[in-house]
Symmetry: C2
Subunit: 344 residues, 2 copies
């Protein structure tokens, strides 16, 4: 295929298809070197393109999908119709070499399940994981897994660590990233059965394993990569999001309670804006589904046009950096380890 | 025994014994109706009392303990010497009816392990849990467990729910508290094996179970009581603490970056102070170790004198509200349920 092609699930997310189409159009204003394939209900997509005064169909292709998976739709409901969904049809483009990556802000569970089933996992990888960058005091850290595997085994966590390492080295240029295991105390003996076994394996590998990390230190930025099971990782993300929002709301309430504070806030506004931007998921582009045989980016369900645009930019980086092959090669090195861990 | 007696571990915490003794002395300035028993190295305690100009030994008793457990001390290390530690000797006072409660800001793992071994658990309770109030947009919510059981079974979580219910009804006057299960989605089908099984049991009980709650909504205050395993609960607490601190640090950095912001901050200072107070653990007095046969309060390891004072006040409330008996009675009602859950 010529040039970079990225499939975009036009029907995924709370604000689909309008925010998705707007994000796609905005992306193409800055970068005309890619072809974006919008997958979804053609009539709706065309309407949105028109709204955005977009007529240049060289850079956009539309593929009609009759079904969409809604944000809270249950597995049993979407699995039956999956073949006709925008998610599956977008993923099929990767399989047929008609796209290099797929971006969706849709139902995370559905994208993960359909992607795993349709693309399969990379050799030596048991289960895919969601990898997301979080803001920290020192910059950013990558968390793997933030929701793909709610019941993980030690060998899954070890694979997450190795895949995350390749991600950081290639996408963020972090040399020999500091890898930490999320636990309830820094000491080796602290943790649950899962983390204690995982600790011992990570310690034995030729990686920069810095030991356990506590929630307190995660947002300081002590580690480049934080490894955890999907249940804990998902809870962490949502608690952090909740705390930031609640703190902002409480502060607003405090500020509005008296005139002096209101004056103060007026002067501080730009500082606040810059701060909130750090915690703004729309800046980060979404999470990468590590371990499937294709580049799949899952954006926040609440994605606006900016988030969609950033997700497309992120997916392009994965393509140009050839991250998939690099992960496969790195994982290959540890083939022996994974064989030993088969039942762990 | 006459009057209320509370045992205080003088050697527990990052700032022991000075902050502990200062907290005890400050408490007695407001409330002379209790007798506080300081347990620890007598010579050090006496020195601190002198520093605080405290000579009235009617309200304070000292019990000499030759050993202290340090904050990061390992199980194998403290278990051997436990009989001579301030933790064990303070708990012994409860056992001998010489104290109605015990307060420690020491090594959480050590206090929990020694308390469980020494006091035993309440009838029908398999494992104790740590219960802590967290600040929310709507007020406060109780989280159980925040670190006692890193590997929990469904029946443990059910017991946590019932004990937490009694706590809220009696200490905070919450009528039929809304009980939620921490998970990765609101829908019943979302979660890991542990939460999915627990969901089904909680649903079947005659309690105000409102279903799953996500981290995002926990700090909004959608539930009065959040039930979770000790690993997840502990991670939640520490992530929240980390995010609040990091947000404050980032804001400070932003504020100091230009003059207008500095001026703004000057006017906003009091608002900030009130806000930070809400997230200040020293206001909350510490966590209750639910399910052991005695009232045991575990304060933050970083407790200052104010936190110690508030922990003593909280323990007094548990005593006067007779919370221990009420928990036993409530649990008794569910005896049949627990028998059925023996292997769950």
């Amino acid at each position: 295929m010529e040039g970079i092609k990225i499939a975009v699930d036009a029907m995924g997310g709370d604000h689909a298809p309008d925010a998705i189409v707007e994000g796609v159009v905005n992306y193409l204003k800055d970068d005309k070197d890619v072809c974006l394939v919008l997958v979804g209900k053609k009539r709706l997509i065309k309407k949105e393109l028109k709204k955005n005064n977009f007529n240049d169909l060289d850079e956009i292709r539309i593929i009609d999908a009759t079904e969409a998976v809604s944000m809270r739709e249950h597995f049993l409901s979407y699995w039956k119709k999956r073949e006709r969904t925008s998610i599956k049809m977008a993923l099929d483009l990767i399989k047929r070499n008609e796209a290099h990556a797929m971006v969706s802000a849709g139902n995370t569970g559905a994208v993960m399940a359909i992607a795993k089933n349709s693309l399969g996992t990379l050799k030596n990888i048991d289960r895919p994981a969601l990898a997301l960058m979080i803001p920290t005091l020192k910059g950013n850290s990558l968390i793997v897994d933030v929701g793909a595997n709610v019941d993980s085994k030690p060998r899954n966590l070890v694979q997450f660590a190795l895949m995350g390492k390749v991600y950081l080295e290639n996408i963020h240029g972090v040399n020999n990233p500091k890898i930490a295991l999320m636990s309830v105390g820094e000491e080796e003996a602290k943790g649950n059965e899962l983390t204690k076994t995982t600790y011992n394996i990570l310690k034995s590998l030729d990686i920069n394993f810095i030991g356990n990390i506590e929630g307190r230190d995660a947002y300081i930025g002590e580690a480049d990569l934080i490894v955890t099971d999907g249940f804990t990782g998902n809870v962490i993300l949502k608690v952090a999001e909740g705390v930031v929002n609640v703190t902002a709301s409480m502060l607003k309430r405090e500020v509005m309670s008296n005139l002096l504070s209101k004056i103060g806030f007026f002067f501080l506004k730009s500082s606040f804006k810059r701060l909130m931007k750090k915690f703004d998921y729309t800046e980060y582009g979404g999470a990468l589904l590590l371990g499937v045989n294709g580049i799949v980016i899952i954006g926040h369900g609440n994605s606006n046009a900016k988030a969609v645009k950033n997700a497309i930019a992120l997916s392009k980086k994965f393509i140009t950096e050839n991250v998939l092959d690099k992960i496969s090669n790195e994982i290959e090195k540890y083939q022996k380890t994974f064989k030993e861990l088969k039942h762990v």
